[in-house]
Symmetry: C2
Subunit: 344 residues, 2 copies
DNA sequence: GTGGTAATTGTTTACGTGAACATCTTGCAA
DNA sequence: TTGCAAGATGTTCACGTAAACAATTACCAC
């Protein structure tokens, strides 16, 4: 219409726009937006009205630039496709929301040196006040993840170096309970299906299983190494069937336990009649497996809650307090375990 | 030491700091940071060196304030605890990473009017360039979710109003295939375990099931309404056992199918001998259920990919192009379905 | 009435970046 | 030698916000 070129993209209304409409200074608008008390009631009403009129939305970037706070937590995760990671992320998201923070997720394709570091760097450029690393990798050590801005970090599910703040499930006690449960039922020994070698939770569970056997004077049999998936459990289940001498299996997660049970069923073995099975995780579905699975319950909600709690403390106090918090597990006995036939 | 109070918190090094060390202007540092070509090679090296020396990290807030872009996608989701949502989020995260964007998750406790709107508003204050709503709620309509800044939005898994850009699994065809499969095996009718009433995907699957029966002159039996959980499937399974006249069940997801099968097993019914079961989703575990579950495979990865693709287009072109994209499903026949005994 | 105090509102400024524009080299053709 | 284009670099400024400080008003005790 006119010769003037108008600003190409309509950006949202700013405090200045609100101020003009309300007939106040933009600082007063800021005060209203931040719910400061020292604003006259009538003025506040007028400003709120003006905000509505111009459709004011606070500009997060400007606010963050000014305050240095993003009100957001970064989460680095290897995959969302495992029950544990998903549950933990869910809990972290809920806990973060309670303290009015959002969660920014970065998924790493591959837990190798380069990618972790890269992701961390990528995330530290992002708008986050702190980072949770849900990660299973032997590589994690202080040197690997250099902290460019000394950002608060909490690590879940890892044997990370002492410099880190760690929140984790008490893998050791959980695996001990599972193994002891089978031994107490009268099984002569317990075989183990472990998670992948690169995983620290897998390692912890395997070590604890072996230690429990050793303490009772039993030499641990060889470990079957899986990769957390149902498929690997199934494959290993067939190997176990082929052996013919196994009466009790402790799988490092429920999915592998499920796969193994399928192999047993296919071979005509009864669970728990011929062979007992214990899992780890206590997925929602585990109680509906056939038979309902005896397993070690993990309190992922608590893990997530503690992550955020630790992280927020580090953020607010600007201190770094390394340490390890362990969340207890609970053995849930269902129908996949029983005394061995020989003992019956 | 001196009477001067020093700035309390050490903020990261800025471009100005780098510039001072490198002996250039901060604009040149900016050019190096943004990989512009018009910088002398020697100068670039010097700046990169200086960046390393002072530990420079770009300030995301300042950059976002200047450019108006956050390089982040917001995702509003009701729960991460269903297989589908989790998988979709996973795919979205991966697809977003490919275009160098992060993902900010907001979990809604409850899909009621207030919370959706509130979350949307909360998210629109956040540092995101666009929003994906993974949501199942009848309430979604253009009026409900007012778009204050006219932010790009893509909706998944919903029957949202025509104003929205929607990406969804082809629920209708999937449910039709599942139902037809059972009928083709010779079952006189097929019973349905649906998802919760408030869910549109549940509604679509139920409608399509009913339509498939009707087309063949069969009056659809009453629907059993579940809530997606294994528990509800188990409860309904027991009801089905009590009826005694059911030979074929189509469950709206795999978890409910699993629960129902557990109830059947407990009652001594053979699957598929006495009763056939079909699920929907094709979880990783479904092939290891006992028996391995016949189900409708959903391509969540593709859904996530298309979401980001559509969203990025809207973000980049600043246009809004409503429309519905359907991702095909695939019936996966395993061992939970067979011809009815009467027909054998 | 005067001084003082508390409550409210306004003004100035800086956060770190990148676009727009200005300036300064360098090299080469005329 | 001069002129001039192309490339490299510097300067200025605004994005929207909130802290720090300044100014104004109203009220109350004496």
């Amino acid at each position: 219409m006119t010769g003037l070129s108008r600003p190409e993209a309509r950006r949202g209304a700013s405090m200045a726009d609100v101020a003009k409409v309300a007939g106040v200074s933009s600082q007063t608008v800021s005060r209203v937006a931040n719910e400061k008390t020292n604003v006259d009631h009538a003025t506040r009403e007028r400003v709120l009205e003006a905000m509505k009129e111009v459709g004011y939305q606070p500009n997060h970037a400007a606010r963050a630039l000014r305050t240095g706070r993003f009100k957001s937590i970064g989460v680095i995760v290897f995959t969302l496709s495992t029950f544990g990671n998903m549950k933990t992320l869910d809990a972290i998201t809920a806990a973060a929301a309670e303290v009015d923070h959002t969660v920014t997720v970065i998924r790493i394709p591959d837990p190798t040196r380069g990618t972790v570091s890269g992701a961390y760097r990528r995330l530290s450029e992002q708008a986050v006040d702190g980072v949770v690393i849900i990660f299973e990798a032997h590589l994690l050590d202080r040197a690997e993840i250099t902290l460019p801005t000394d950002q608060p970090v909490v690590v879940v599910d890892s044997n990370a170096g002492d410099g880190f703040t760690v929140v984790d499930t008490d893998q050791t006690t959980g695996a001990r309970e599972a193994t002891a449960h089978l031994l107490d039922l009268g099984h002569e020994t317990v075989w183990h299906i472990s998670g992948p070698e690169a995983s620290f939770s897998a390692l912890h569970r395997a070590q604890s299983w072996a230690a429990t056997l050793s303490e009772r004077g039993i030499t641990p049999p060889p470990v079957f190494v899986g990769d957390w998936t149902t498929d690997s459990g199934y494959r290993i289940g067939k190997e176990i069937v082929a052996r013919g001498d196994v009466t009790a299996v402790f799988a490092a997660n429920d999915q592998m336990a499920l796969g193994a049970m399928t192999a047993f069923h296919e071979a005509g073995l009864q669970v728990p009649g011929d062979i007992s099975v214990v899992g780890f995780d206590d997925m929602e579905e585990s109680k509906a497996f056939w038979p309902p699975l005896t397993t070690v319950h993990q309190d992922f909600t608590e893990v997530g809650r503690l992550c955020i709690q630790s992280l927020m403390r580090e953020i607010e106090t600007r201190t770094h307090t390394p340490g390890r918090t362990l969340v207890p597990t609970r053995l849930v006995v269902r129908d996949s375990t029983a005394a061995p036939k020989s003992a019956a």
